[in-house]
Symmetry: C2
Subunit: 429 residues, 2 copies
């Protein structure tokens, strides 16, 4: 390698989600110096985040310290910091605490909850993207029942025990199902004055059916299972207004609900637009077939922040497997370039299939032409999610919790904690 003779190139990877971590894991050791930056000290297994929101799992069950993932890689430096700006000319990235010079930049900054231009709705209808979101939802849901249990006013009780999930994609379906179980089965024994099975869970979907990318038969199965769990599923319904403890649909119906959770849309991390990069309508960076940012051959964008129709004409979806594949592909492209080898063919997304769980022992699964529902699909869902979870310790914790929950109908993390924000935490000595 001629590389080792000259100064090694410095690759800065921003974001330690599925894309950023996959890039680092796939990039050949010793070929360059990599700095992986994230504002958290952990990699989050987002597919199970809704279970933190519904008190099934603890945050640490689905989060693994980034340093631990790369503790054997001497060429990878992990930084906990937040990017504030990038000077593309001098190739300098500015963060809250320091600046870094880069030769190559991998933007894996992901997506955030999107409100289709109604950002003021965020105040009343929080999303579910990070651990903080999940803990806020958990605290809200459990607090609402605590309040309702001792509330003398029936209309307030009704409002407190009404949950609205907006968005009929996998996250919305899984969350609504979990809330249905929580209210119908788990919390039931805990409360004496209210009947938690009278709690109302709405699932609002703008499209004519749930889980639109799936086969219609699976959508229908999911809808039926949710209805069995007591969820009031409203398809072809659009939200036109969100206020404090209130949501209005396009058919004029107003639902009074203390708990509104927004799973309807995502948009690219605002940093992409702030940097002036070419973004689509939802703020995602439009990338070239090799995942490079147009006009910036030294910058790659991967994962949920990247907008791409692949070489076979498939619109790459914003899901974990796509981010993993993009991370590995970008590593291959950049490694080839640094080694002076031929450029790999353009990125092609390989659809490994989709799955979503709907409460206890029910799931839908679609792999190519294979479709499955029910208990076996649920077992498949369990196995795939356990296998993908980073960290052996986490796998065991989550499996233990799931077994308990299955046997006992009890959630393991039903505690309300709101740590004070510690101002000193932000100070440097």
């Amino acid at each position: 390698m001629t590389q080792s003779a000259s100064r090694r190139k410095h690759i800065v990877v921003v974001g330690a989600g599925f894309g950023g971590v996959a890039f680092c894991q796939a990039f050949p050791e010793g070929l360059a110096d990599i700095t992986l930056v994230d504002r958290n000290n952990y990699h989050l297994f987002q597919p199970l985040l809704y279970q933190v929101a519904t008190a099934d799992l603890s945050p640490s069950d689905i989060a693994e310290p980034i340093r631990t993932i790369f503790d054997r890689r001497r060429d990878i430096t992990v930084l906990m910091d937040e990017v504030t700006g990038i000077d593309f000319q001098s190739r300098i990235i500015t963060m809250r605490r320091r600046t870094l010079q880069y030769d190559y930049l991998v933007l894996a900054i992901g997506a955030r909850t999107g409100y289709f231009g109604n950002d003021d709705w965020a105040r009343y209808a929080g999303g579910l993207k990070g651990i903080e979101d999940a803990l806020n939802i958990r605290n809200r849901v459990l607090s609402a029942f605590e309040e309702a249990e001792n509330c003398p006013d029936p209309s307030q009780v009704k409002c407190l025990t009404t949950f609205v999930v907006v968005g009929g994609g996998p996250t919305g379906v899984e969350l609504a199902g979990a809330l249905g179980e929580l209210t119908r089965r788990v919390l039931r024994r805990d409360f004496k004055n209210i009947d938690t099975s009278q709690a109302r869970v709405f699932l609002i979907q703008s499209a004519p059916r749930l889980l639109p990318p799936y086969h219609p038969a699976l959508s229908e199965y999911a809808r039926q299972k949710l209805v069995q769990l007591g969820v009031d599923v409203r398809v072809s319904s659009r939200v036109v207004r969100v206020g404090p403890h209130q949501i209005e649909l396009d058919n004029g119906k107003i639902i009074e609900a203390a708990n509104i959770i927004w799973c309807a849309g995502v948009e690219g991390h605002p940093l992409a637009r702030k940097l002036g990069l070419p973004t689509d309508r939802t703020g995602r960076i439009q990338v070239e077939p090799d995942l490079r940012v147009p006009g910036h051959p030294e910058i790659f964008a991967i994962g949920d922040i990247a907008a791409l129709t692949d070489a076979k004409g498939v619109v790459v979806p914003g899901v974990a497997p796509a981010a993993l594949q993009m991370g590995r592909y970008a590593a291959r492209v950049l490694a080839a370039e640094l080694r002076g080898r031929p450029k790999p063919p353009p990125f092609v997304y390989f659809d490994k299939g989709s799955m979503a769980t709907i409460g206890r022992a029910a799931a839908v699964l679609e792999v190519g032409k294979l479709r499955m529902t029910g208990f076996l699909a649920w077992i498949g869902w369990l196995i795939v999610h356990l296998a993908m979870l980073v960290g052996f310790n986490n796998k065991v914790s989550v499996l233990t919790e799931w077994i308990f929950r299955y046997i006992t109908y009890r959630q393991g993390a039903r505690i309300i904690t709101t740590p004070r924000t510690d101002e000193l935490l932000q100070e440097t000595p």
Copy 2:
């Protein structure tokens, strides 16, 4: 029973710590209506709280929803609320959200971290009494290492990686030992620029030896084990000043430390003084031999909030077993009164012994004249703490974590999370 003929008496129990929960569990079912009030929705197993602070355990491992503990008791109503005042004349208790009339009141409001009159030190040296405290310490400790790893200034690195634990009682000893292990062993592999085993952990004790109530041989064993874990133990040292990232001892020594944790003192919950009840110097309520509050035969004070020298002349210590015993005793006294039976003899504290763990596989244990140190004492500590932990699920989680930690030297909860405080959480619809 004549009781069931007339209106049942209403007992309000404030605080769901060891004392309050023990009272409710011991009080005969159906003899009265009980309302148990706590500002949290969970009972906290405080003896393991330091392991949440050092990222060994998750909050939900050592917290059990209060409702779940009493889900089979139809005579017990659980309320999540915070007491703000009591009108002793009309027997009305005021809380943030509602008021309650009581016939009997059981104050089990516990203790908080005490600074011997230097309350301004709290800003720089937080205590370890609740889950919020523990999460703050965890976030601070992990953030300090994240900062140090990428800090160019050696003196800042030194300050960031210096930990001062003030107080050589069981909590201070256990926390200092756990910090010694965390820095010497657990985090070591995660960091590349800093050697975490160079982190300094100080344990400051004002008395001439650690664990003063124990036999001197055990104090000496604890000191030696801590020194082996790299802890700098300073006995006969008094703190005279605490500032931002700085602590000064009475011998003039100034330690620059970004992490100062106060385990030196406790004082009664401020509510006792605010209510104008007869308190001692540390704000605890001075109770009569039957745990009633002087001048208020309808009010009991139990657990850490009660100051009592028992019928045998023993000063009852502020520990979990004493709170449990007081809770059961008060239940017996009140049940006898309601049933018109003779009054039980005055409260006598039964000392079941004391134990403290010092890092991995080392502990001290003292039961009467039996003294034990080392591995067997540690196994004893494990068994007693697992047995006392409320909730079967929690027992299994904690045991699993401990086994992992013992085998892998890895902490399971090394993630930094600071949930936003959710203003809406406090609103009622």
